[in-house]
Amino acid sequence: MASRIGVYVCHCGTNIAGKVDSAGVARFAAGLKNVIVARDYKFMCSDPGQDMIIKDIREMGLTRVVVASCSPRLHEKTFQKACQRGGLNPFLFQMTCIREHCSWVVADPEAATAKARNLLAAAVSRVNYHDELHSRVEAVHPDVLVVGGGIAGIQAALDIAKAGHKVHLVEKGPSIGGHMAQFDKTFPTLDCAACISTPKMVAVAQESNINLMTLSEVVEVKGYVGNYMVRVRTAPRYVNQDLCTGCGLCMEKCPKSVVSEFEEGIGKRKAIHRNSPQSVPNTPMIDPAVCIHFVKGKCGACEKHCPSGAIDFQQTESFLDLQVGTVVLATGFDIMDPSCLPQYGFGRYPEVYTGLQFERLNNAVGPTGGKIVMKDGRPPESVGIIHCVGSRDKNHHPYCSRVCCMYALKYDHLIKDKVGHGAKVYNFYIDMRCFGKGYEEFYRRVQEEGVTFIRGRPAEITDRAANAAEEGKLVVVCEDTLLGRTLRVPVDMVVLCTAMKARADAPEVARVFGISQGQDGFFLEEHPKLGPVSTATDGIFLAGTCQGPKDIPDAVAHASGGAGQALALAARGEVDISPTVSWINPDVCVGCKMCIDLCAYSAIEFDERRKVSVINEAMCKGCGSCAGHCPSGAAQVRHFNGKQVFAEMEGLLSPAPDAPGVEAV
């Protein structure tokens, strides 16, 4: 039976009708094949506009609807719902955009009208080949997986747990807390980082709805939104968490000392160690790579001295399979190693530090007990702080790392505070970006404390003195772009504000979870403005700096957003699965298996009995990689199949005649 099409052309006030002859386009549509009714109206998306469609479906028995108006990205859902209310399957609808792609961008009214006719002819031609499709409803498992135990992961886990849902919090390191646990003070309020983060860490440990897994990694994710099967690998700690009281005697007695990663290489730790006395869990771990027992088979000092018998050299890695409905990724960031910028002499000059190292110098439990001192124990008389090291630099990371200006200001203040107001502090900046609440005020305060700001990216840091004043100092060579002068600034200590970058293992994590990375390596959100926490994979959400550089308030807010999205799904308990996925016609499939390797979501399996490939519709996202390649044309995306695309092209390429004198009904 031929379809009965209703066509509706919108004026959008004067947005469309001001350029395109909407009424003429409707008259043209009325003459197209299978079109029963064609109308134009001021605002199709309004209630009367939608009612017009509903009424026509009911009264004229329309079997297809076409609307020519704004972008389908804006109102496709609106009109699909109207069709549904009229009793028509929402997929028997096609929308074409004559505003964004026509009236707003084509200069000549006649050309714009001709293009609108063309686009409408394409939509009418296409809609003939639409099929009825039905969404499926799937149950959502109420448990949530949070990956990463930094401040974002902690916030997300606590939010979800507070709502009454079970959370599995998987952390790669021996303790939660992330980078924030390394900091001393936080800008601009100068709260001590530990004072605000450790209570949250403890809350995680005490929350009965949170299953905290440290030294753990997600190695495999199977399934789809609402029904993810996750495999977690836990590395051995060699200390029994149930027996250990966290007394710390083992660390005292351990004879093996190595450079500490948590202290960013400027402090020492033992082979059995924990990040800090505030670690959660408080249990130390043995590093088998350096432990004398594991390397040489002797020692065992920790075992001998442990009063509770918690040391267990026999522990092995274990695997745990979890079922969860949704996932929040909070895997955080890495700090760029500034060794790749040899002009700054990091690693060559002992008094050149990264920002995180400087945090440790300030931290009361850090290697110097919180004193800002040089390697020889003297406090520096002058410090150079270099902004944008590796950030805003097209050779390294073109983006702004967002936090460096502010933590540089914090360092300015801390130096003045701890070393004394006589200490000279020079900031070498490109632009100051103090965008948050209270940030600009903090900038002003630091300026008033007598800190020097020099606008310009330093060219090099050298220890070659050009005069007596530079003797024994590091010299920052720089052009002051405001004064237009080259400067040589002698300082005792240099702090490099290094870029925040995507974690080194981000590609691996992206692969395991089936999400994508943006150009800068951070995980890609669904929409930069309106979908900042969701990903292209349903049920997987982002929290914190794994999505892009953020300061603590932004990371926490983002994490709560991610938790909210995960909760929305978990609390509702069911999810609609779009039917616009691929389908392989078993009568046509020759079983070449080409599509199986092409599928990025592992949604295609081979049916050995029938010798054809079969799509698992629950896992298919409808990208059409299979359909684009299938040599026999057996694989097709529903709602974007070959017939529909060909029909659309036929309409597009039909010569658009001048509007015929057909009267609109």
Binding site: A2, S71, P72, R73, L74, C97, R99, E100, H101, C102, W104, V105, V106, A107, D108, A111, A112, A114, K115, N118, L119, A122, N128, Y129, G514, I515, S516, Q517, G518, Q519, L524, H527, P528, A536, T580, L598, A600, Y601, K621, G622, C623, G624, S625, A627, G628, H629, V637, F640, G642, K643, V645, F646, A647, E648, M649, E650, L652, L653
Partner: protein, 156 residues
């Protein structure tokens, strides 16, 4: 359901004395280039009306036969445009499109079609200006190239 009849273009559409207005079909992905086109519209960036978009979910679903069919049905050129490499909404659909279009560009001349009539570009969701520039540049390029003459195609 009726059979589709796509009438192949049998004559050069150049009308003597009239400026050549190419017909260009663009297969663009929903997530990046279509969004960029919307943005170009919202920002009122004037574009040649010659390019008409066909919205796909991903450039990875653009079957080479869509391109060939368009060219044989009267399109003077085809534009395929999606997300930047690494940004694909479907992990790597655009890489698949890139491979496919590369091969297609090698095959087109054997059909007697200038490979410049097929263009693959990446226009991200926020690049409205880039979209308008791509459209205008491509239209200018095809105007210079002249209309496709399907009479001379060997395989029709």
């Amino acid at each position: 359901m009726e059979e589709l009849v796509v009438v192949p273009q049998t004559e050069s559409r150049a009308v003597p004395g009239e400026a050549f207005e190419p017909a260009i079909v663009a297969f663009v992905c929903n997530w990046c280039t279509y969004t960029a086109a919307d943005l170009a519209g919202t920002a009122r960036m004037v574009q040649s009306p010659n390019v008409r978009l066909v919205r796909m979910m991903c450039t990875g679903m653009v079957d080479p036969k869509y391109v060939i069919k368009a060219l044989l049905s009267g399109a003077d050129a085809v534009l395929v445009s999606g997300c930047h490499p690494g940004d694909c909404h479907y992990i790597n659909g655009n890489y698949k499109a890139r491979r496919r279009m590369k091969l297609l560009k090698e095959i087109l001349p054997r059909f007697g079609i200038d490979e410049r009539r097929l263009k693959l570009t990446w226009v991200g969701a926020s690049e409205g200006n880039e979209f308008a520039a791509t459209v205008n540049a491509f239209v200018a390029e095809i105007k210079e190239l002249g209309p496709i003459d399907t009479r001379r195609l060997p395989l029709l």
